[in-house]
Chain length 252, copies 3
Amino acid sequence: MINIESLIRDLDLIRKQSPLIHNITNYVVMNNTANALLAIGASPVMAHSVDEVAEMTNIASSLVINIGTLEALWVEAMLIAGKTALNKSTPIVFDPVGAGATSYRSKVCKQLIEECKTSIIRGNASEIIALSDTQAQTKGVDSTKACNTKAIVVISGETDYITDGITVETVKNGNPMMEKVTGMGCTATAIVATFAAVNKNLLEAATHGMSVMGICGEVAAAYSQGNGSLQVNFLDTLFNINEEVIRKNIRL
Amino acid sequence: MINIESLIRDLDLIRKQSPLIHNITNYVVMNNTANALLAIGASPVMAHSVDEVAEMTNIASSLVINIGTLEALWVEAMLIAGKTALNKSTPIVFDPVGAGATSYRSKVCKQLIEECKTSIIRGNASEIIALSDTQAQTKGVDSTKACNTKAIVVISGETDYITDGITVETVKNGNPMMEKVTGMGCTATAIVATFAAVNKNLLEAATHGMSVMGICGEVAAAYSQGNGSLQVNFLDTLFNINEEVIRKNIRL
Amino acid sequence: MINIESLIRDLDLIRKQSPLIHNITNYVVMNNTANALLAIGASPVMAHSVDEVAEMTNIASSLVINIGTLEALWVEAMLIAGKTALNKSTPIVFDPVGAGATSYRSKVCKQLIEECKTSIIRGNASEIIALSDTQAQTKGVDSTKACNTKAIVVISGETDYITDGITVETVKNGNPMMEKVTGMGCTATAIVATFAAVNKNLLEAATHGMSVMGICGEVAAAYSQGNGSLQVNFLDTLFNINEEVIRKNIRL
């Protein structure tokens, strides 16, 4: 059950602290991810060079690892950044874009989850199932368990499910048109990372992030004519989100 | 001559099948290309790593190769993906961005066309002429022939020309403001690839793709104040295009 | 003091000549930078391969070097392009994104400024200070002097300061919401490069570029609801800027 007071407190903290979110993400979504982070009040930085990721992660409040357009040198940087974050107990939010589509993606997902002990994993159902399958195939664990991980797992869909393996939270806000905007899931990952930067209860942080995504998507879709205007209107809605908008629109 | 019934049938097929379009394209346009593919009803994937392109192309219905921001490792991936598509008879739509601007681009274009036997080549007049010149210089072929290729050639402009070397189709829809939106040509290439995924007659598929581009650009430009809003409105128009809009706006 | 007649003359020249601006810039902003250059009437090209940058810079009227998402191979290309521009006396406009955030960035900035003798450097106050500090630490020069460089220095902020080390020009147009649109500073760098392509007085060119940025941002912000619509409206305003809009809105 979403605690509205706690969600609003987190949102206020984000706007007061403007946490630095270090993103190693894909080319397709970088612009929108950065704008979404600016809209909510965070400070985005995109940096992927092996020559600087450790230093950048060291000054960040959260790390986003997104494998959308992965390649070898980037994976190397993701591992360096991820281990740096792990050492500093900085939250790592992992987006396994396209997990299961190629064996390379599956291998990289497994490696990142195991070596960096990612704190939160956000994907759609097929991606999360692919992660479980990978683990199941390679380790013989129970494949009904979402990955052999202690991470909070977020499954995006018509209803979002957020779980620590024991408690399951749900987010019912959203609109089907959001799936037609490229990178909306990647934005969700970055927004979750922003809440994780101000709330150590990661199950709560992830739920808050997904809730803000759902509310903004739903409010923006109501006055959008297609995925072009929804991409723009979503940012405007996120830019202006406040207690009043949350209370009026949240579905519990 | 555009066959409206056939165009509408293709559009319906795209929306029913949601074909997977594998794009190895440039950084500048990735977001808009992905959104345009989602708008029309296709499933975009962007993947360029030599470690996974073959596997990705194998599950795709069309392959887009666009050299806008090329570099050596990407060209290697383009060749692997292109040869994979060739083996599976998957259509390859090639966008020779900036052909002729540097000798490196000319060399890469020649190699991709020859080794991957690209199915459709879409560019503006100067790019297509540059391809012909390259072939002419290096092989002594008739430079009036657009490249030494069996590909369908699409020349974008005020009127678009689409030819298999024998028949020439024309598309008269469009608006000059489209040239002021970066990557509008790259979007056209991806939309053509989407029609090629559902229609084996590639001359027809390319003509249908260019026709939808022209109609959407023209309709969207009518209510756009500049290239910023045109980029957004174009996606919205593509998202909503249907038989009625096509019949009302098509110029034959 | 901005000379309005000279600014309008430059804008006319840009639209008549449509100068080719070669950008080696970061992934986050490429789309918006290209659209902004098209909006004002320039011809953008993004190319970063070591196999072609020299040739591309050779045909360009200005070179933009922006280190936002730098990595080793890109820095190599920046140095090749920069030295090519230096040899041809082509203006180089340098954007030291995130200077000071990591030691790698500081090192790269120093190298680019020294080896390419960048003509204009544009950043926010903290980036320009970081450049001075780097120079101060490594060379013992007076750290109050903005970098050990003969470049025109542009410091973006509520008021923009543009200086050749002797004269200081100011630009007072702008709106705080511009900071919430990712890459607005990178766009400013590219627009400054466009003015530098048509006006050899680089102090004037930089001042004109920043003035146009400020006016467009201010005009667009007045009818924008958030950073999403501001990104779009900014491009539309730039697309339509003319003598009348400049005279009506410029703050001297």
